[in-house]
Subunit: 349 residues, 2 copies
């Protein structure tokens, strides 16, 4: 542990795949916009805006998702008191083919855009890259945006909604929502959290093929990233008040805890999954929990950052997970590998 710590003082490059941000980055403010169902869930009162229906005044589901991104970023900028031109770079992505929710949602901001794809891990991916670019001195301010929409995701990945297919209990419910985060090198007057470390993830494939059980498909990736993170930083799980995954749901949570237990790592006391928090699975018929890029993003903005801001939690490991599949790869019989990108969030003090 001492060896790692002394290395960390010399270089931000830490262990096998981590970065120790010697110059931390601040999440100055953020916003969460969700659909009706998410608004009726346990976190409902914490979101910045809850839509009256899931169209948000648009003509198509894809356009609705773009509107979510536009509103989320606009709201985050307003809350931070920033002008659009204060943002140097945008880091954003979504679940749809060729990321059309992002392209059409963020176009009007007229800002340089780094388009990202990390499936449901995109919130972690975007914050990771924005943090590196800011901490490296290449931008003073940047913004991260991601989204998902239940109806556009069902159309993209599964069945037409009108077909009314049965969903197994291991299936998750894609969150309709967008989260936006504005990050800066300087804390300025206020911040919601401080980013001090990063462990970008690798693709992990356990050979699972069930797109109706994505929690199990993604859990091995979460386990890999969390294990490597703790090793690289020389930390034990209890260093963190919470170790948070994105959308493993109840099935994936069990798999994650089991996999880590076999490695001698017990995170059962710290683990929280955004997909489990966002819905009341029994009351809302969402089966294993919520999913989608929007799930971890809106939960981070509305709930996790609130707990850090208020100092209830001091250290959080935020590790959203993504399932790397498409309609085509699924139909061609490919596996569903996963990826998870972990970000260390601290109370801003």
């Amino acid at each position: 542990m001492n060896k790692n710590q002394s290395t960390a003082q010399e270089s931000p490059i830490l262990g096998k795949q981590s970065v120790n941000l010697k110059k931390p980055v601040y999440i100055i403010d953020s916003a969460s916009i969700v659909g009706k169902k998410e608004g009726e869930g346990p976190l409902g009162e914490l979101f910045d805006l809850v839509g009256e229906d899931d169209m948000f005044g648009s003509q198509s589901w894809e356009e609705a998702e773009s509107t979510l991104q536009k509103e989320a970023l606009g709201t985050a900028l307003r809350k931070a008191g920033w002008k659009q031109e204060d943002v140097r770079f945008l880091f954003a992505g979504d679940l749809l083919g060729q990321e059309i929710a992002t392209s059409f949602g963020l176009m009007d901001f007229e800002l340089p855009l780094f388009g990202l794809y990390g499936a449901c891990s995109t919130c972690g991916l975007s914050i990771t890259l924005a943090s590196l670019v800011i901490s490296g001195g290449f931008a003073e301010k940047a913004a991260c945006v991601t989204s998902s929409h239940f109806a556009s995701a069902e159309k993209e990945f599964r069945f037409p909604l009108g077909y009314g297919n049965q969903r197994p209990l291991s299936a998750t419910w894609t969150v309709t929502g967008s989260g936006a985060f504005v990050l800066a090198a300087d804390k300025g007057g206020k911040a919601r959290a401080k980013i001090t470390g990063l462990t970008p993830g690798k693709i992990v494939d356990y050979g699972l093929k069930d797109s109706m059980n994505m929690g199990a498909c993604m859990a091995p990736a979460a386990a890999s990233t969390i294990e490597q993170h703790l090793k690289d930083f020389g930390r034990k799980p209890d260093y963190y008040d919470k170790i948070i995954t994105g959308d493993l749901g109840t099935v994936g949570q069990t798999v994650l805890i089991d996999l880590l237990t076999k490695k001698g790592i017990d995170i059962s006391g710290q683990h929280m999954d955004c997909g489990i928090e966002i819905f009341d699975a029994k009351e809302q018929d969402t089966h294993a929990g919520g999913s989608g890029c929007g799930c971890s993003a809106v939960t981070l903005s509305a709930y996790v950052l609130k707990m850090l801001e208020e100092g209830v939690w001091k250290h959080v490991l935020f590790a959203p997970t993504g399932a790397l599949l498409s309609k085509t790869s699924f139909n061609e019989g490919q596996n569903v590998p996963g990826i998870a990108h972990a970000v260390v969030l601290e109370s801003p003090e």
Copy 2:
């Protein structure tokens, strides 16, 4: 101009949207793997590997594209004399929905992966982000990979190949190919080029809707990025031996040169488009030229870097362009906006 230059000495943040890399990054080596048709084109002899057919021993076009990425990165690593574990981070993406060519192609390298989506600008996007992360001191070595495949792209964006649709003369031909680049902070024994500046692009939408004329759709984005780049760096077009776009083709080239001429910028003496170089349009029936993420990537690796390495060209502005559309956005009547990310490449000395 003096003002810009003096700012540049203090901070890498330059002008409205550029980065002046005070600590340059080196392209140590690279590889290009292409299909049969590309091998028969004017650059044919320069590629590292030309496939005998376009399946590359795979069972599907998507799997073939994954194989291209795997082979390209493997070859680049071998040429550089690097082991796979020398690479700290991968930056990669492709054109397919949910980027399955990348996920399934690069999985076996077991390296942390930043998944990117920039349509056909991905080569520029990946080199931009890798350069920022390396120059910022967060990695010693990284790799960038991107690909496209004629058949997987036609399936993803247009018509089934068996349908044999007529292609208008403004249409481009998606390149079957993958380019991989291994980048490092230290030049070491050799390098193919030095990266000294970056101008990440914004989405530009001129209201065009024709997916069979993507050159015209993307030209405004190229014009925006090139204009801003010259302004931010206080340079004139003749600073560069070549100003290179990715896949505008003959139609897009005309539009680009016209748009910049109206702004008082004449790049007609320097402009080169990878899509025009890679095929002999008349002989090979490729109409306006080549396109796809692979087009700019393999041309950069096989031809542009060769000219820089040999010192024939000293300064190049490499600005690949992407058209931001999907089957869904096209069918819903959306425009086809573009994006272009520019990278300054210099002879390694």
